[in-house]
């Protein structure tokens, strides 16, 4: 639940999602659900010359199970807050 809440706070921010097939998609985070499925708006594939497969796609849904990394805006992480929340979670609430 922690990372679900965390991603919900990032809605509206620009992120880059790297998939497990090496495709990297940049866009505005529109929503996230309990499976960490991600919806992006105004998407661009990072290396569009190599991957023209999504040239006519501007909004997309990415299945949580294929996400390798999510690159966040530099000020998108409050590390102290995340540390505390993670410790709290580890203690069981």
């Amino acid at each position: 639940m922690l990372f679900f809440s965390y991603f919900k706070d990032l809605v509206g921010r620009e992120v880059t999602v790297e998939l497990k097939n090496d495709l990297a998609i940049r866009g505005t985070l529109h929503s996230v659900d309990q499976y960490l499925n991600i919806k992006l708006e105004n998407t661009r594939v990072v290396d569009e010359d190599k991957y023209p497969h999504m040239r006519s796609v501007r909004n997309c849904f990415i299945r949580g199970s294929v996400v390798r990394y999510v690159q966040l805006p530099p000020d998108g992480v409050d590390i102290e807050l995340l540390h505390d929340a993670t410790r709290r979670e580890a203690r069981g609430g």
Binding site: K8, K20, N21, H30, C60, I62, R63
Partner: protein, 98 residues
Amino acid sequence: MATGLGLESLVDQTISVITNDGRNIVGVLRGFDQATNLILDESHERVYSTKEGVQQLVLGLYIIRGDNISVVGELDEDLDSNLDMSKLRAHPLKPVVH
């Protein structure tokens, strides 16, 4: 839930699906469920290669199991009609490696 979850907004729209084995299937979304299983109508596969333009294979009505789905994209019809598929050359997408 505050965030617009799921694929409701894409029902009856043309979507482009990338599967875990790297295939690209385009069709009209007719239904889906919580596991991202999809029902695609009037679908076709776009086969990318470096030797020739994009080949389109007609598939018809398809059900894709959610396990096998990477990305579901809303196809912008204007952008898509401006693409010259016969000139597009690219390696097929790599399969997903978990």
